[in-house]
């Protein structure tokens, strides 16, 4: 990987970067906000939520900044009327997909989806809500999985596979029917591979995964451990 120093422009600002960095990393280092939900420092990026799309001069399409590497002389725009509109619509799609009842959610006030809606000034969801009937899996002695609040970002799947090494989580089905599962789609509490480490809970951006016993608005997530664990792994 080319790791030489590169210079690029983000929103008209000249910034320097290592060649192996992504646009998102460089933007965040420079205090430029780009929204994202599936990206989490320390996990492999998947480019799935599409919130971090940016305009790159000369590129025919919008590019996901979480996986797009910087290039010398690149000109990146992270905010535009079009990007704002698309991002709001993507958030709306997420809100309309399942049952996100913020007011009674265990993560109310600590939720990244809710937080982004506020930050991106989303005042309502104009797509019709779908209201699927989805289960809550509370079979685990310490944790709860609420599929109503899941946005399929797969952070849990990745942290479990890449950091914990258990690969308890994966995704089943496809399309609008896709769902996260543990082992053979069995109750989490019966999972043979789960180590009960709780990393999935703390990387989950919403109230989908939470600690048991938490009441409404009580589930604040702790993520500080992740970059540390990633560093430990890569240096090993």
């Amino acid at each position: 990987m080319n790791a030489g120093i590169k210079t690029l422009r983000i929103d008209g600002r000249d910034v320097g970067a290592r060649g192996d960095q992504t646009i998102l990393q460089v933007a965040r280092e420079n205090g430029i906000f780009i929204p994202s939900l599936c990206y989490l420092e320390g996990l492999s990026p998947v480019g799935a939520c599409r919130l971090c799309l940016v305009e790159v001069k000369g590129a025919a399409r919008l590019l996901p900044s979480c996986v797009t590497r910087v290039e010398e002389g690149m000109e990146v725009t992270t905010r535009s009327e079009r990007l704002d509109r698309y991002r709001r619509m993507i958030l709306e799609l997420l809100f309309s997909e399942r049952n996100h009842i913020c007011s009674v959610c265990v993560s109310n006030g600590h939720c990244e989806l809710q937080g982004l809606a506020e930050k991106l000034q989303l005042t309502h969801v104009h797509f019709p809500y779908r209201y699927p009937r989805l289960p809550v899996d509370a079979s685990h002695p310490r944790f709860v999985a609420d599929h109503n609040r899941c946005i399929l970002c797969t952070r849990c799947v990745r942290v479990c596979d890449e950091i914990e090494g258990a690969h308890t989580w994966d995704v089943m089905g496809r399309g609008i029917e896709a769902r996260i599962i543990t082992d053979l789609n069995q109750p989490w509490g019966e999972s043979e591979s789960c180590t009960s480490c709780g990393k999935c809970v703390h990387v989950c951006p919403t109230g989908a995964l939470s600690e048991k016993g938490r009441s409404v608005a009580e589930m604040a997530k702790r993520r500080q451990f992740l970059p540390y664990l990633t560093m430990m792994r890569t240096q090993r």
């Binding site: 809100f95 996100h100 009674v104 809710q114 000034q121 005042t123 809500y129 209201y131 009937r133």
Partner: protein
């Protein structure tokens, strides 16, 4: 200067937004100077009047009556404000949607009844298949999320409307606040 003709309406909600309206406390006294409350659960008007400047609607649309009422309100209102999460997102009332009205009624009037079990059928509005936010039924001009929006937020909204400006809710309230 003529006073702002204000109405407040309560559809499928808990009245918490109306309580938050009252939580403006003594600011109500000062607001009373600029506002004429022409229709509200707080006053005795039985018919929604014509030519209302601003209507604050709390609650979601859950019955055909709600829908008819909302359409009439829209037709007679200049600025329609969706007040609170139920009006904006359908919120908790919408939690019945995955079950459907029949199952919901069965729980209350069959399972949990010791006399005359059976869903009520007369004199009551028919439940719709889905509880919906206002904007799925009529155009909405201002969205004020929150469960409920704070009294400060409501005060801000009214002051802006009194001043003839459209309120900008950015950063003032959020879903579930």
């Amino acid at each position: 200067m003529s006073r702002l003709r204000l109405a407040t309406v309560w559809l499928d909600g808990c009245s918490g937004c109306h309580m938050s309206f009252l939580d403006m406390d003594e600011r109500l006294i000062e607001l009373a100077r600029g506002i004429e409350l022409v229709y509200s659960p707080l006053v005795d008007a039985k018919e929604f009047p014509e030519q209302v400047d601003v209507t604050l609607v709390e609650g979601a649309v859950g019955t055909r009556d709600d829908e008819e009422k909302l359409r009439a309100i829209r037709a007679r209102t200049r600025v329609l404000v969706a007040l609170g999460d139920c009006a904006v997102t359908a919120n908790v009332p919408a939690m019945r949607n995955p079950f459907g009205p029949q199952a919901a009624m069965a729980r209350a009037y069959q399972e949990n009844a010791t006399r005359n079990p059976g869903a009520p059928t007369r004199e009551i509005p028919v439940l719709q298949a889905r509880v919906r936010p206002l904007h799925e039924v009529v155009p909405v001009d201002v969205f004020v999320p929150g469960c409920p929006p704070s009294a400060d937020t409501i005060h801000y909204v009214l002051q802006e409307l009194l001043a003839g400006r459209m309120p900008d809710l950015a950063g003032r309230s959020r879903f579930g606040a």
